[in-house]
């Protein structure tokens, strides 16, 4: 199957050209061309994909588990009265200001919990459809293979955002409930208002979301390789762990800047006054590179694949 066969580029499929030809010469228009003017960009399908994703109990179970992270942290600190100051970044600040619960929870969730849930969603994207037997029906509907990949990736990105926002929001709410809240002292020493600090929390959620896009693309690619969704999920999660382990080893120092997890915890720059955007930029660039490479691999694999599920 040639890549053209999928005709799936959302905007420029061979069909519009065809229908303009047939409009010029109605006598030679086939019934197909006359009936279907042009393929929709895919917004409707994207919304339906989101609806399917968020109508699954599994999705909500994962979001609930993520929300439990800040809640557990806050409750534990509240009960033990602050502890001895050891533990993840920002932990010691929580007792003074509840708004730090969200940031602490993100630091805790980034290495394992977030990649786990993202791996489940991205790894399931194509393999899950193959496993359910729906992939063949999507393809003959016809969804267009490239269009399907794009929509699946976009849905995974929306899930990344939902996941990080869930952690942040749950952290803010439980922080407000259990600890005093007031103006936040930034890492640069400046104080910002509660409103501004909430804005910064959103910014950090955006940063973490962007950081997960590379992993989503990897998961999408792996998902095109198999009809077994569990395998694709597990492989994606394992890759995220391997990347972080490599990121810890001094022997692989040369590799570190190329790992998609390299900037995962660098959002402290967003807690300075004025905001230092350099880490946001380099994180985005790195993730973009991963999305490009693994998007291309997924395209190459999926558009030529025999769908036998």
């Amino acid at each position: 199957m040639s890549s053209e066969s999928t005709g799936a580029v959302p905007t420029a499929s061979p069909v519009p050209a065809e229908s303009s030809r047939s409009a010029a010469n109605p006598a030679t228009a086939s019934a197909l061309d006359a009936r279907r003017p042009r393929r929709a960009i895919g917004l409707g399908f994207f919304l339906s994909e989101l609806a399917a994703l968020f109508r699954r109990k599994r999705t909500w179970a994962m979001l609930a588990a993520l929300a439990a992270v800040p809640i557990l942290i806050a409750v534990a600190i509240r009960v033990t009265d602050g502890g001895d100051g050891r533990g993840p970044a920002f932990l010691d600040r929580i007792t003074q200001n509840g708004l730090f619960v969200a940031m602490t929870a993100l630091v805790v969730a980034i290495p394992l919990f977030l990649p786990l849930t993202v791996g489940v969603v991205a790894g399931d994207s194509i393999a899950g459809e193959a496993n359910a037997g729906t992939l063949r029906y999507l393809l003959v509907s016809p969804v267009g293979r490239i269009r399907l990949l794009v929509v699946k990736f976009a849905a995974a990105a929306v899930f990344c955002l939902a996941a990080t926002v869930t952690v942040s929001l749950a952290g803010i709410l439980i922080g407000v409930a259990l600890f005093p809240v007031g103006p936040v002292t930034l890492l640069s020493g400046d104080q910002v208002s509660v409103g501004e600090s909430l804005l910064r929390s959103l910014l950090i959620a955006a940063y973490v979301t962007v950081g997960l896009l590379g992993l989503s693309a990897i998961g999408l690619f792996i998902s095109t390789l198999t009809d077994a969704p569990v395998g694709a999920m597990a492989a994606t999660v394992v890759i995220s762990i391997v990347a972080q382990v490599l990121g810890q080893l001094s022997q692989t120092e040369w590799l570190h800047p190329w790992l998609f997890s390299y900037h995962w915890l660098d959002f402290a720059d967003l807690l300075r006054q004025p905001v230092d955007w350099s880490s946001f930029g380099s994180n985005a660039l790195l993730q973009l590179a991963y999305v490009a490479v693994f998007g291309a691999l997924a395209y190459g694999r999926f558009t030529t694949k025999d769908v036998l599920s």
């Binding site: 199957m1 040639s2 053209e4 066969s5 999928t6 005709g7 799936a8 499929s13 061979p14 069909v15 065809e18 047939s22 006598a27 030679t28 228009a29 086939s30 019934a31 197909l32 061309d33 006359a34 009936r35 279907r36 042009r38 393929r39 929709a40 960009i41 895919g42 409707g44 399908f45 919304l47 339906s48 609806a51 399917a52 109508r55 699954r56 109990k57 359910a132 037997g133 729906t134 992939l135 063949r136 029906y137 999507l138 393809l139 003959v140 509907s141 016809p142 969804v143 267009g144 269009r147 399907l148 030529t304 025999d306 769908v307 036998l308």
Partner: protein
Amino acid sequence: MTDAAEAGTAVRPGDRVTDAAGADAAGAEPAILTRGLTKRFGRSTVVNGVDLTVPRGSVFGFLGPNGSGKTTTIRMLLGLAGATAGDIRVLGHEMPARAATVLPGVGALIEGPGFYPYLSGAANLRRLDAADGFAPHATRAARVDRALERVGLGHAAGKKMRAYSLGMKQRLGIANALLAPRELIVLDEPTNGLDPQGTREVRSLIRSLASEGTTVFVSSHLLSEIEQMCDHVAVMRAGRLVAQGSLDELRSAGQARVRLEVVTADAAAAEAVLARLTAGAPRIESVPGIESAPGSTGGEWMLGAALPDGLPPETIVSELVAAGVRVRGFAVERASLEELFVELTGEGFDVVQ
């Protein structure tokens, strides 16, 4: 004209609009045309040089035993799997190169239904319709309802898929094929898992689709089913197309073959005579109810063989009598389609590789 075809379009599936790509004066190119279609998985050739011609407007039966390559062929027709060799044209366009043009006009059920268990029947159909970038959004709900009504699932539209029975899932799969106005509907074993009532409904559904002018391509391993609803047939055996044509053509091909049957107690002697005269091993069956073994004189046996051209049946009777066979019954029959099918596809239970 009813149902799905009305929803939102002026051109109905049956309307013959001449296609630019090589249509003749009488109308369009065949709905499906393959030449030398071949598929290999590793070293096994699963579909081997298949030349299918499915005329427009026909109800085409695609017959073959398990593992003969029906589903694999359908997957290639629909662009799901790439052909190892050969050309495919569907609705006058090359596949899979023109999939985006062809597939909106094709409805399909491929190797059983596939749905999301956590969505309702109607939500499943809406999702697949949303995936079709060419289906109008405005008429979606109406088309989904109509397709569900048409397969008798109107009352179960809101039920979660995991609560559907096997036959209900199968019906939903057929409803999916009917979501939009189609020129060609491909149904891979549509009556799998259906109760007799459902089977009858599917048959009448196919007939009503055909009367609207839609070409229907049905695969099955049951001749009786194909015989009841199709006007054209192709027979697959181990990846090869062994017969193709209108049902009448095939029937008369069967009629040309004459079979004879001998009922006797002297099975061994009769077998020897028949083997000599018809140049082939006769088929031997014990007549039900009488237990015996070939060669003994107690039981009664039925021997079947094909009558060679130019050999008068009475010659066989006199030869049998001369060999001392006590002939209790002798019959000459023209082969039924069933026998032709068995002859074409082989009789053994083992799946032919």
